[in-house]
Amino acid sequence: MKGQRSIFFYLLRVTAICVLASCAGQALAKDYFDKKEIVVKDPFFGDALYDYYSGNTFDAIIKLIVAKDLGRVPNHQEDVDIWLGSLYLSYGMHYQAEAVFKRLIEEGASPEIRDRAWLQLAKVRYQKGLYEDAIRAIEEIQENIPEELMGATQLQMANVLMARGEYQQAADMLLKFPRNDQFSQYVNYNLGVALFRSDRQIEGTEYLDAVGLASADDEELKALRDKANIALGYVLLANDDFPRAKAYFQRVRVSGPFSNKALLGLGWADAFQQDYRRALAPWLELSTRTLSDAAVYESLLAVPYAYERLQAYQQSLQAYETAITTFSNDLSRLNVAIEMVQNGKLWEQLLNNISTQESKITWGLEDLPPEIEPRFVYTLVSGHSFQQSIDSLRHLIYLNNSLSKQADNMETFQYILDLRKETYEERLPQLAPEQGDHRMALLKDERNLYMEEYKRIEREGDLKALANDKEQNQIERLEKIQDILRRHRHDMDPKLYRETLAKYRLYSGILEWEIGTTIAPRLWKIKKALRELDNELEQATRQQQILHRARLSAPRSFEGYGQKIAGYSKKIDSLQRRVQETIEEQKQLMEQQVLSELQILQQRIASYLDQAKFAKAHLLDLGANQGGVN
């Protein structure tokens, strides 16, 4: 069972590669866009790119929106829009992408950006099936554009034309496309198909033949080569050119994803030439393979048909019985699988795999319940439409996770807000601005007194007031001496009195001289101190004003944030409900698709079973009539 599953995962991968190959034009355009060299000039732009390259497109989009809204990407204004549009596109948001590109164009972007935007817009419209609008967008692109952009534009145009069924024009456009890079095989393949569809089979064969013979280094190109050979083989079968058809089928790799189709075709090429013995070889090989696609189922009918034509009735009967058993078993398995889907078991594994990281949410055939064999649904699951549905489901689950995280954040924000409010209310009495105002008024009065005193000293030349502490001390001592001399003038010895008076006058003179010659720097020092005091007072006044404002605004701010948080919480609740409902709708749609796939397969196998039973009955009749088979 495990081995069987791994074959299907391989088939899925290769089928997906082929889907990509048929969309080569789109891949090329995106490739050119992604390869455009980015020189990050604003860190917030680089931050968004980091998320995108890490597989988190959702976060990258939000970061670009925030960076743009808050003016944090002044050096990437145009880049932001073109990236935003492209990211919206890759996140399945066609409407948003279109709005961004239209705005970019209307705002008169530079010619290169404008042309790239038109090309992106053409892609959006093409994906939405608006082919006329897509062509109009392409027609807006200037003729004189860089070669790589021209190439991407032509391929896009060819895709649109092919989608509109205008194969002739698509072929003409692809014929002009230069084949000088790794995508030339995809261009040749698309061109071959376009030529076939415009009834230019000979030319179409040439291009498909070239693809079918091209050397291929990787699995993608090998698969494309097989696909071209298969297509040509069946065209030639339809044209009754069996030998050439065989040659094409023989080019297909025996173990490749197209080998079943090749073996079936190879058998039919021989059978149509009545060489049933030769036809049996590929069909017998095919009939032993895993029942992965219609080719293997059909081989179970083709083998007994060949035996019958070779008149090996016994072997034919056995092969029909084997087919009947196989078809019956598969019908039983399909019944179980259908029941599983109807009981909503399809998503159990997916829901278990949910991760909070966008890039880690995956779902594939390996996540199917064991009762639903991957071979029954791999064609559907690997198809573009179903893959898009899986993307939508993944994105919805991511949105739901993101909303749950935001709901938790709201609780945290509210807690922080409450804590701040509590701290504010506790500290408010200590910070009473009125007390501060009173202290400020006293300080200002004091400052004014100092200023007045400074002016008086300057005006009166009051040397004493300019003395420093040491000098003040000396002045006081000299004044005491002067006082003693005055009081004891008549008591003192006249000689001692004269000597002391002389000394007093000398020291007073020296002191006055020292102070008097340094008035200017002393006054400047006081003035500087007063200026510093003014600055401090000014800063204190500002702080006081901030405190006043904070006291007025804090409650409003707490209330404002509180209201915002409450509003956002409501919005989160409502969005979560809608997202969850949409997840259910998306799951139901995909369940319906899987169910429908299983039911159609059920009908098809039931039809094979009827054919096998009818053929067996026919053989038994033949035996009864001829007496040979029983």
Binding site: P43, D47, Y50, Y53, L70, T379
Partner: protein, 180 residues
Amino acid sequence: MTRGSKVKKLFIAISFFALMFGFGYGYSADDQAKTLDDKVQQLKKEVMQLNRDLFVLEEELLFPTSTQVAVFLSTDVGNFFRLDSVELKMDDKVVQNYLYTQQEVEALSRGGVQKLWVGNVKKGQRELVAIFRGPGPNGREYKRGTSFVFEKGSGTKYIELKITDKSQKLQPEFVVREWE
């Protein structure tokens, strides 16, 4: 018409179509899918708008401009060093330890700039130390630290740590710069 030619005609009609254009069984729920797709797109738009608002609210509440410091990390070619982890210290206190996945290393080498840490820092002179680990030249384990002293003022401070290849010395170089 013989049984053989009937088989052939039926076979070709079914197989040619299936083989050219795939073996899909053709379930179509296009209208329903389109309506649902419109709904999904609308939801994505609204959730993104909400996340945008909450992103701004978070910054206002948790990292006000006056105290916010954001540290970004970028790399260039990476021939001489492959980043495994980085440790970030602000004023000797570890504020971030980050281990890189292969995808994140590739995102950096393609031009992405990682917002490594955002936090609150008081005004004044601050020291940022970053210690980078990973295989260096010749694949040997490499550990290098770089420090950066900056003045935190009243505005938001953005600092970028950049790992570049210094071809002349065949060594990686760790550069720190401030964004205006």
